[in-house]
Symmetry: C2
Subunit: 326 residues, 2 copies
Amino acid sequence: MQSELRKRLLDAFTNSGEDFLSGQYLAELIGCSRTAVWKHIEELRKEGFELEAVRRKGYRIVKVPEKITANEVRLGLMTKRLGQNIHYEESVDSTQKIALQLSLDGAPEGTVVIAEEQTRGRGRMARAWFSPKYTGVWMSVILRPNLLPQKAPQLTLVTAVAVVQAIEELTSIKPEIKWPNDILINGKKITGILTELQAESDRINSVIIGIGMNVNQELEAYPEELLTIATSLRIESGNRLNRAELIRLVLAKLEHLYDLYLQEGFQPIKLLWESYAVSIGKMITARMVQGDLYGKALGITGDGVLMLEDEAGKVHFVYSADIELQ
Amino acid sequence: MQSELRKRLLDAFTNSGEDFLSGQYLAELIGCSRTAVWKHIEELRKEGFELEAVRRKGYRIVKVPEKITANEVRLGLMTKRLGQNIHYEESVDSTQKIALQLSLDGAPEGTVVIAEEQTRGRGRMARAWFSPKYTGVWMSVILRPNLLPQKAPQLTLVTAVAVVQAIEELTSIKPEIKWPNDILINGKKITGILTELQAESDRINSVIIGIGMNVNQELEAYPEELLTIATSLRIESGNRLNRAELIRLVLAKLEHLYDLYLQEGFQPIKLLWESYAVSIGKMITARMVQGDLYGKALGITGDGVLMLEDEAGKVHFVYSADIELQ
């Protein structure tokens, strides 16, 4: 919906309070047909507005969508660094892009960008990530670890463990991790993690961790082609979650594991990660730029690299692939 | 000099052609004392303007500084990709910063940013890099190699070889390389290389290679504290160089070696690099965050990491350090 029309529509509903506004009135107000008004109303419903429609009276809003506010996230936040500096936006093209700019401008470690909607959300390999309004957690966290740049990919695995632990604590669901960056429930994506690095040859400038979580979407929110591969915590648990609470919990778990990683190295993270990993010990296909590789996923190395044993017994080190479980 | 004053001063000289302008006239024009005018004239001289001063007549410009133009660089450029897209600026804070923005906006591989002056030029570890106007080569090259991110530091060494070969070809000087990123003549810095990476965990988005070359600076151009550690091609060779020609040559050498590296890997680069390396086989001190290490530089690994044998015979792998020759 064009933002100008949308604003006029929402202003009208706000001013009318509990009174109904007729379709005819709304059509004249925003200068379009009654069919178009009906479409705009449907759009608002998709965004989480609940509207009551009564014959011969018209429409009124009975519930506005739950928004995350920076204050709500801050309230009860159990971290020392992550989330102490929150940058909140209603709509962005990509939280990663905003976070990168903030990082280049010197934003401190722990700065978090949260948006209600991403119009060009991204996953790995510049793939699109569906990020509809008011229903998910679309956020980016700026880290500035004193590590060699080649360690940065391990932070994807640190984050995956944090997200799984947060979901476990808030719901009764036990998610699984698919190497390297997907978190699944019943084989469908619930969370994606994107780790982006800015570095000199021997020094990290910043690592920006993007976390996209499907939280309160209902089945109808998904386009056809995503229905078989994506799901949400609401669909799986049957409950709406408080997104601010989920964000606080993810940040708390992440800070704890990140500090553990900085102090003890990757080994304790590796053990946790493997305990949640769905693919380890199973036959998988690793789809890579240079071709497919079929074999048994043995585990990950001390660097977080996937080890795959092919049918001839040869062990391959997989740095970059899409994994398919057989 | 404030740019507004500077502009009025240069406009006045341009309009007066071969006529002299008196100190009194210039003082009134820009609204300052005659001593201040004299200081401004000195500033212009440092930037490469040649001014004639005649008693009782005043000043006139007899030669404006040589500028690089994008067209001059393009003319005779022997590359397929590097430098085919040139972004030229009179003055920037840092060419790396401009190049990063261009890269985020999708600039193609080979895009080059060239500036006449950097007001906040940077070297490794965010150290300042002195980049005075019209005398050096301050440029950044955007590469987008299809490599794993951990390979990116090798591109510093690829670039070092390219710069050394270009200097050898254009002058009779044989520079030496000090690991990881300095090029020296008689122990003084002639060029610094800064490699910055933007990447996902398993995919490079861009590598931005900054090359800062001291070319036509005279001794007087250097602040006191740099005199013992920096020099220029002009000081060492006694000749002014055409900077556009030098840029073309560096880009041609870099493209050739970069293609060799992409096709054959690091091995051929390693051999070339070691042939120019000043520290190999010598006793050195590696100053690192975690302390100093003293020993013999054995060479570099197949990944470009420095190998240092301490006095007990133990070999250390040095990823990040400042090297001091004994």
